[in-house]
């Protein structure tokens, strides 16, 4: 007898209850607090904020907990929440030159005004499992050096020194309000502002792979890290009732400016070009990758050759960098496709039987 092969409400409820139980894990262990995730898994939290496009460490921690640590699932939860929030307006552009930096490195100059600040970094650590963390999680605390916590003076951008001499292309301020890809459908070809917006929320792994491909010769653009800086910046908003902008909060961002291969000709003096990356939180791999991909996508305006490289193809990059779009569509192939498959099955059977519509007609 035919039993329902089609799933139903009870099956879904049971599956979700199972998920809840497996998320909790053995009940003899203490439950994971979202404050612990927020404060002790900070880099996971900033990735979820960056790709979720919502700066809220508490919600990101909740999403990570709810997603059992699956960061793309967590990003998805944040995006779905973000989209329901009312939009009061836009801030004025943040001033990264006024950043309170906790990390700031330049690969192009040994020293620069403001100095090199390593900050909290995995760079130069030996990647050896530290079993002390497994034992008790407590490390011998060494007092932080004096002055490490705050860096009150504004640190000028390294690239501004190059710019003063005309050695690098000018990045003139543009007063055109950028398009908002969460409010208007993406229109291709996209301008640089829109491309950067898409890259900023793009998947870190995807951008990493693309950036890497440019380094390996698929649209190579000879990137130097002019400057990478991480720190807190003020967010200010114009309040129409007041007639001026006030600070409404602070966010942590990572900014990467690359100095790239120069352009020039007999008539135009040689100049370095720029790539740019800016992301929420401490997400420097992402910011670096974004800057390299940004630079690769600028080939047309800089009069470079189309090498047919993936990182040069803005339709390819922008259509595939969003991991929420990608994972949804990828995973939808788990949904039933009986009807389409049935149609294909009949077609293949008919073709195999040599009974095409055409021949039936003739017969």
């Amino acid at each position: 007898m035919y039993v329902a092969v089609k799933g139903g409400e009870r099956a879904i409820d049971a599956a979700h209850a199972w998920l809840d139980r497996s998320r909790r894990g053995p009940v003899d262990q203490p439950v994971l607090d979202t404050a612990q995730i927020r404060d002790q898994m900070g880099l996971a939290v900033t990735r979820v904020m960056a790709e979720g496009s919502l700066y809220d460490p508490d919600l990101a921690a909740l999403a990570i907990k709810q997603a059992c640590g699956d960061l793309i699932e967590a990003i998805f939860l944040i995006r779905a929440y973000r989209t329901t929030l009312p939009r009061f307006g836009a801030s004025i552009p943040i001033d990264t030159a006024a950043m309170r930096v906790k990390r700031r490195v330049s690969a192009t100059f040994k020293d620069a005004p403001g100095g090199q600040i390593l900050g909290p970094t995995f760079d130069y650590t030996h990647r050896l499992l530290d079993f002390r963390l497994m034992a008790d999680g407590e490390l011998p605390t060494e007092p932080l050096a004096e002055g490490d916590e705050t860096e009150p003076a504004a640190t000028p951008h390294v690239l501004s020194f190059l710019n003063r001499d005309g050695l690098i292309e000018d990045a003139a301020p543009d007063e055109t309000p950028p398009a908002d890809l969460t409010r208007e459908p993406m229109e291709l070809p996209a301008d640089r502002a829109l491309r950067l917006q898409a890259l900023a929320r793009g998947d870190e792994g995807f951008l990493l792979g693309l950036a890497y491909s440019t380094q390996r010769g698929y649209a190579r653009n000879h990137a130097f890290v002019g400057e990478l800086r991480i720190g807190m910046v003020a967010v200010e908003m114009d309040i129409p009732e007041l007639g001026f902008a006030i600070e409404i909060g602070e966010i942590e961002v990572t900014e990467c400016e690359t100095v790239n291969q120069f352009k020039g000709s007999r008539s135009e003096p040689a100049q370095f070009t720029r790539g740019y990356g800016l992301t929420f939180g401490q997400t420097e791999r992402k910011a670096l990758a974004m800057a390299l991909v940004d630079r690769a996508l600028r080939w047309e305006e800089l009069g470079e050759e189309d090498q047919g490289a993936p990182a040069q193809d803005q339709e390819f990059v922008l259509s595939h960098c969003d991991n929420i779009q990608a994972t949804g569509f990828l995973e939808h192939i788990k949904l039933p496709h009986y009807v389409d498959f049935q149609a294909e099955l009949e077609l293949v059977r008919r073709l195999r039987a040599g009974l095409s519509d055409h021949e039936e007609d003739a017969a």
């Binding site: 989209t83 009312p86 409010r183 459908p185 339709e315 039933p336 496709h337 009807v339 149609a343 077609l347």
Partner: protein, 279 residues
Amino acid sequence: MSDQAYNFAYLDEDTKRMIRRAILKGIAVPGYQVPFASREMPMPYGWGTGGVQVTAAVMTPEDVLKVIDQGADDTTNAVSIRKFFQRTAGVATTERTSEATMIQTRHRIPETPLTSDQILVYQVPIPEPMRFLEPRETETRRIHALADYGLMQVRLYEDIARHGEIATSYAYPVEVAGRYVMDPSPIPKFDNPKLDDCPAIQLFGAGREQRIYALPPYTHVRSLDFEDHPFRATKADHACAICGSASSYLDEVITDDAGGRMFVCSDTDYCAQNAKGGA
């Protein structure tokens, strides 16, 4: 978060207005893909976000909603979407095609003929009928603008040259009102004739691809073909093992390890009504 934290049918009213504008434009230009600023939804892209946004944008508290996937009301994704609207909009739901004012569907058109007071909302994965012939959006837009559809006909020609017939069995391309070539979503080509001259409003939502398109009531929809290889709606050559219908689209069900199989209606409501003698 309580459900009171969300607006009626989840989306805020500004978003709904934006989507309704896109729908109205789609109805004004049948078959044309209208770009819209698709929102992130609490279900994944590819699982019906476009359909859900369209449904949410046109839904009123008095609506009676039916949701089907593969023709059935009890498939997992249909259950999930129906629950979503029960929870966020509190509207009445039904499994009866004839009682519904709005039907959201994935991959099928109900067997029971639709009426002029119904809206059928399709979930669309890839709205661009030319996509697998031409991957570039900038180029496909030009193709539609110039109605330069020779390439699609070449694809059908190649099918016949290779297989003796047009080897497209679902998502079979159609020409709408003599102008735009449109992807009817992955419905089996068996359902294509139901698109034509349909009294109901048919709306198509593609969330990930940010496109909405529409067929106003009684629009002429022609499946592409050749004069000497006319389009033909096909299905398994059986009758339903439950209701006995010989004219409805059938699912093939494997019944045992020895390869035994039976054929049953894909449209569960039609099958149940037919078995009762009511359809």
